[in-house]
């Protein structure tokens, strides 16, 4: 006998219902992340280790210091950020597009869950993967640097979470717009990777000649890398090597998050890429 009644439609019951929906998506995403760990966790760790070996040990040893810290130590925040950005983006774009491709996204579309809850659920999955990989990369870096002290754990952690948040949303938008698997590779290859490489991972943009320094300031990844680097080594880094003011960097990241989150909700409400 159908047990649903219209009695249980209070705001609190709707909130509770959406919270359970959110938990369900998060559990599903984390289960997926752990189930296919050879695809989700191992490759970014290996890639980053190669960066440490090639850019840090082989080339970096000839460069000496940058901004008053050993070059190997200087690139650690950038490499962690790079793995955070790629992992959060890739997790959401591949998971949501696979659901779209297999059509099991319909399970979610027919459900009473609010679109914001769906988006937050997938974002949480992307953030979880980014945090796992970011932490592993940070631990791996300890094999390559003598010491790695963190200037401010709250700054470091919040920048990492906000960055993962931003790129999880970006991955979701890519998945919404993608029609075939090629479409989910285009943005990471032709947009994300160049922006990351040019985002101050391996150098400070203050070292760039004009107009490239100014041009680089339009790259949002510069703000994330710079803020994360400040969180880790602000106390020992030459202030001239800090690309962006920390407060301004936070403001830009949050502004991007709010803008992209609103855009994605608008797309979901209209069924862009989901409903005919």
């Amino acid at each position: 006998m159908p047990s649903n009644t219209f009695a249980d439609v209070s705001l609190s019951s709707r909130l509770r219902s959406n919270l359970i929906g959110f938990q369900t998506i998060v559990i599903k995403e984390v289960t997926r992340l752990l189930r296919i760990w050879p695809q989700t966790i191992v490759p970014p760790v290996i890639t980053t280790m190669l960066y440490f070996i090639i850019f840090g040990k082989v080339i970096g040893s000839r460069l000496g210091e940058m901004g008053g810290v050993p070059y190997m130590e200087f690139i650690v925040p950038g490499l962690v950020m790079m793995s955070v950005i790629n992992s959060s983006y890739q997790n959401v774009v591949s998971s949501f597009f696979s659901s779209k491709f297999q059509r099991n996204v319909e399970e979610i579309l027919i459900s009473p869950m609010h679109n914001a809850v769906v988006l937050l659920g997938y974002m949480a999955g992307g953030i979880a993967r980014a945090m796992v990989i970011g932490t592993i990369v940070l631990l791996v870096s300890l094999f390559f640097v003598d010491t790695l002290s963190i200037y401010s754990i709250p700054i470091t952690f919040s920048v990492a979470v906000l960055t993962a948040t931003l790129f999880s949303i970006a991955g979701f938008i890519n998945a919404l717009l993608a029609r075939k698997f090629d479409d989910i590779a285009i943005v990471p290859t032709f947009v994300l990777t160049p922006l990351t490489y040019l985002g101050g991972v391996f150098y400070s943009i203050t070292l760039l000649p004009q107009p490239w320094e100014t041009v680089s300031r339009f790259n949002p990844i510069v703000y994330m890398v710079s803020a994360f680097r400040s969180g880790i080594m602000k106390d020992r880094l030459d202030p001239t090597m800090i690309d962006i003011n920390l407060g301004f960097a936070f403001a830009v990241i949050i502004l991007f998050i709010v803008g992209l989150f609103s855009l994605t909700l608008w797309m979901l409400d209209r069924g862009v890429g989901l409903r005919a």
Partner: protein, 314 residues
């Protein structure tokens, strides 16, 4: 909330796809609570579009839908809570086991894990899938996958269950088992809407039937009234021995398809008794008799053909 609200009220529903294809041309449809409702139509008639709009998988161009009195535009969450969907295509994650698939669906509907666990067991057992709960869905047979989709659609215990071609491509044993199951679900109080190409299925299960063609509802009535519109039925008689040359059946159109198989068209006004009398007089013994086609099928073809001859205005 009125307790007499219809399970589904569709008013002037229209849909034009981006490529200009007009799928629905302002259909009206009411489904009473507790009904077993059949939505029939040829391919491309607009059945799946209608179901897609009801279940929020397709955007409508115009019109209104109310589910148990709740406007789908005004309070989609509340309306969606009442609806369960069994789609035509397998649309679950093929790499997850049935238990996880059904549990997840319960979670999307806000059902707590403890209740979800109980219901998952209840519906997987009901569908004969409990022993397969940990098997990756990809490894299940086609019939099991169909039953898994029904279990998934039932886990939030909807008041309205919509099934889009639930027996397409399944063998007759499974089809009949599915029919029994759907009858049981309907008897338990769930309103059922079924689309099917198997008109035998609709005739057997549905108490009310709508025929949709070229984006319009061309018939919407109870099954008895619908079948009463059937003017001529064709019966096949298997004869004991070859029919005599010059067989006469006054007033009945008839033909021999082979020496011992006779097809006779019988209009609603005429009786079959006269046919038997005439055959007996001519020493023709009938071994068995059956309908040439399912009655609803004959009517369906008749109506769709008649509609095809009408101009398609807008």
């Amino acid at each position: 909330m009125s307790t007499t609200a219809k399970a589904l009220e569709i008013k002037n529903l229209s849909k034009t796809y981006r490529d200009g294809t007009v799928a629905l041309r302002g259909i009206d449809l009411d489904v009473e609570e507790g009904e077993f409702f059949g939505l029939l139509g040829p391919n491309g008639a607009g059945k799946s579009t209608t179901i897609g709009i009801i279940t929020s998988l397709v955007n409508k161009t115009g019109g209104k839908i109310r589910c148990f009195g709740v406007d789908l535009d005004r309070d989609p969450a509340r309306a969606k809570r009442q609806i369960g969907l069994v789609p035509q295509e397998f649309n679950f994650n093929q790499f997850e086991p049935p238990e996880q698939i059904v549990m997840q669906q319960a979670g999307y509907y806000g059902i707590t894990r403890s209740v979800a666990r109980q219901r998952t067991e209840k519906y997987l057992r009901k569908m004969g899938l409990w022993d397969k709960r940990a098997t990756i869905a990809r490894m299940l047979s086609g019939g099991m996958k169909r039953r898994l989709m029904i279990a998934r659609a039932l886990v939030h215990e909807p008041k309205l269950l919509i099934l889009d071609e639930p027996t397409a491509g399944v063998d007759i044993d499974l089809r009949r088992a599915t029919w029994s199951l759907l009858e049981e679900i309907n008897e338990d109080g769930t309103t059922v809407i079924l689309t099917t190409h198997y008109l035998e299925e609709a005739e057997s299960l549905c108490r009310r039937i709508a025929i949709i063609d070229r984006g319009r509802v061309i018939e919407n009535t109870d099954k008895k009234s619908l079948l009463a519109k059937l003017n001529i039925e064709t019966f096949i008689f298997d004869l004991e021995s070859p029919a005599p040359a010059g067989l006469l059946l006054d007033g009945y159109s008839h033909r021999l398809t082979d020496a011992t198989t006779l097809e006779i068209d019988v209009s609603r006004e005429r009786s079959l008794n006269a046919v038997f009398e005439s055959l007996t007089q001519q020493n023709v013994n009938v071994v068995s008799m059956r309908n040439k086609a399912n009655r609803l099928e004959e009517l369906f073809v008749e109506m769709v053909e008649a509609n095809a001859s009408q101009p398609n205005n807008g």
